[in-house]
Amino acid sequence: MDLHEFQAKELLERFGIDTPGGRVVESVADAQRAAEGLGGRDLVVKAQIRAGDRARHGGVRFADSPRTAASEAGKLLGRRIATPQTPEGGALVRWVYVEEAVEAVQLLYAAVVLDRVSGRPLALASARGGDDIEERAERDPAIIQSIPLIVGNDAADGDFAGLAGRIGLNGAALADAARLFRQLAAAFVALDASLIEVNPLALTAGGRLIALDAKLSIDDNALFRHADLRALHDYMERDESDPVELEAQQHQINYIRMSGDVGVLVNGAGLALATLDMVCDAGGRPANFMDIRTTASSLDIARGFRLILDNPAVRAILVNVHGGGMQPCDTIAEGIGIAMRRRPLRNIPIVISMAGNHAEFARTVLANTGVPHIACGRPWEAVQRAVASARAESSSWLSSLVARRA
């Protein structure tokens, strides 16, 4: 779960990390009131999207009065902001964060992230933060310094001080930065985070370290032990997710909308990815990514199949299933049968390849449910048939449209 900046800052404050005063609002009028409450001068108005690189793409604006704060908020609210980190089409701005501007003598970078190779969290730091840090690190990797963290080991103060020293800090700033790194590391473990990034981290003339921005991702697998974060997760899902993707999630299915016309139902993420590759290689365009998890029941699968049927762009459906020990093919065949029984038939060609556990039985189940489909012995054959069907459907649809117009 990726959090918004304002949520991340609230959580990090609990660990003693300083952030500027700020308020989150969802209307221009509230932006003006928030700005007044924050003293009314030297303000920053920030689009709340859960992706980085906002500043360089118009998502961070400055204001010197409540009135200008309101007008800047008006330029962000309800708009979509696209950065290299958003999905295609950008992210919708539903909230803006109005915040006191901070005068900094230096902008630093600090993060804790999980390193997959070592299987350890890493604390990262740089003497110069900012959105362009990746490009700069590409040219000069030494600008990023890091130390590996050991979970459950509290005797790492010297390491944190060493990290602060390696990015050129000394004196009081070094001690303060070491304390901040330790707070970030503690937050990382306590919150079950997979990423905490403070960029930029301001060092003020008075020697304070203040997190000007914060990114925080929580490990979904650990939400069972965080009732508060679980509630936040459910709220954000309801409020912000694509409703179709959310419905799929609730039925043990990973679904991602895509722009093509071949609906795809697959069990398992790897096979799903490989199936998308095959569809594209065969000259087709997938309408979705769908990975049925092993925990899905036939009713869940029925819901997933209907999500595909309900997508008006879909002109052919490809089912590529390899039954395993946890989920035999007949469970999936049953799900497709249920979906088709409950839905008046839309005339979409359905191409099915099933192999592995209970594949034979699944074919009988499909035959018994009377679902009209093209059965293929091999996935590649099924992919080609589905792509060809989508193309044929699309041309017949086009010609009927042209005929009607004529």
Partner: protein, 294 residues
């Protein structure tokens, strides 16, 4: 010989009395796997599936001489179960549990340091040595004994490739699922080394996917090792939808290497044969073996 398991492998199952574990241990027993007992705290002294149940792994090891453990414990307790098996000195631990928290896996990796335990998984379908042993939840219908070693990050795609390899008339020495989680035990690179040293394996198939850097690490190992055996790799996800990204920190870790393109280039540079698509892995391996023999 297969890799990692053999006739002498004696398996216990942690969490054996659970519903899913009961079903799968039954399948594994039917397959001929030498399962010698189970561990469920609080149920020590009872019997389940006609096997003895123990309270702790240490007791089970002493009583049965077990040298492998299959962890079938729910995600909130899976890490503790893996750490218990590591501390009891079990040389092979296979964890099929999905959705284990990341920080828990960091603790498991810390517990592994300096031990001789090999961990497979979590979120792994397990490992299958046809006609020898099944330690996992995979389909076994299309597996046949043969000379291809398969190491993979994804369960259902593996079953498809196993079927292809069998259709190509080759069969498998061992199929290993290393699991799809960011922090896991055995790596693709280690599988390559094990298969290269295995007298029964003639060719190696690696099944990778976007994310992480297991494939890049394997490429490094292959470039250094220069294995005699042909290696065919499939990397899934060339046309995956683009997802939101948070911040820059990922770019400063191993994550930066995660694209399908990057993985394929690294493997190609190491001399690996890249399967253009998921449907031609078996054929490609058959041809590669033919040209090796000629």
């Amino acid at each position: 010989m297969a890799i990692l398991v053999g006739r002498e492998t004696r398996v216990i199952c942690q969490g054996m009395t659970g519903r899913a574990a009961t079903f799968h241990v039954g399948r594994m027993l039917n397959y001929g796997t030498n399962i010698v007992g189970g561990v469920t705290p609080g149920k020590g002294g009872s019997r389940h599936l006609d096997l003895p149940v123990f309270d702790t792994v240490a007791e089970a090891v002493v009583a049965t001489g077990a040298n492998a453990s299959l962890v079938f414990v729910p995600p909130d307790r899976a890490a503790a179960a893996m750490i218990e098996a590591i501390r009891a000195g079990v040389p092979l631990v296979v964890c099929v549990t999905e959705r284990v928290p990341l920080i828990d896996m960091v603790r498991v990796r810390q517990a592994l340091d300096g031990t001789r335990t090999r961990l497979i998984g979590p979120n792994s379908q397990g490992l299958l040595a046809p006609n020898v042993a099944q330690l996992g939840v995979m389909a076994t219908t299309s597996a046949r004994k043969g000379g291809i070693g398969i190491a993979s990050r994804s369960a259902s795609l593996t079953s498809e490739i196993v079927a292809q390899v069998t259709r190509a008339g080759l069969g498998q020495s061992t199929t290993v699922g290393i699991g799809g989680d960011p922090v896991h035990g055995l790596t693709l690179a280690e599988c390559v080394e094990l298969f290269e040293d295995d007298g029964e394996t003639d060719g190696i198939v690696l099944i990778g996917e976007i994310g992480g850097s297991d494939e890049e690490q394997a490429a490094q190992t292959i470039a250094r090792l220069r294995p005699r055996k042909p290696i065919v790799a499939l990397v899934a996800g060339r046309h995956a939808p683009r997802l939101r990204r948070m911040g820059h920190a990922g770019a400063f870790t191993s994550e930066r290497t995660g694209s399908a393109h990057h993985k394929i280039e690294a493997l190609l540079a190491a001399g690996v044969l890249i399967a253009p698509n998921a449907h031609n892995v078996g054929e490609l391996m058959r041809e590669a073996l033919r040209s090796v023999r000629n």
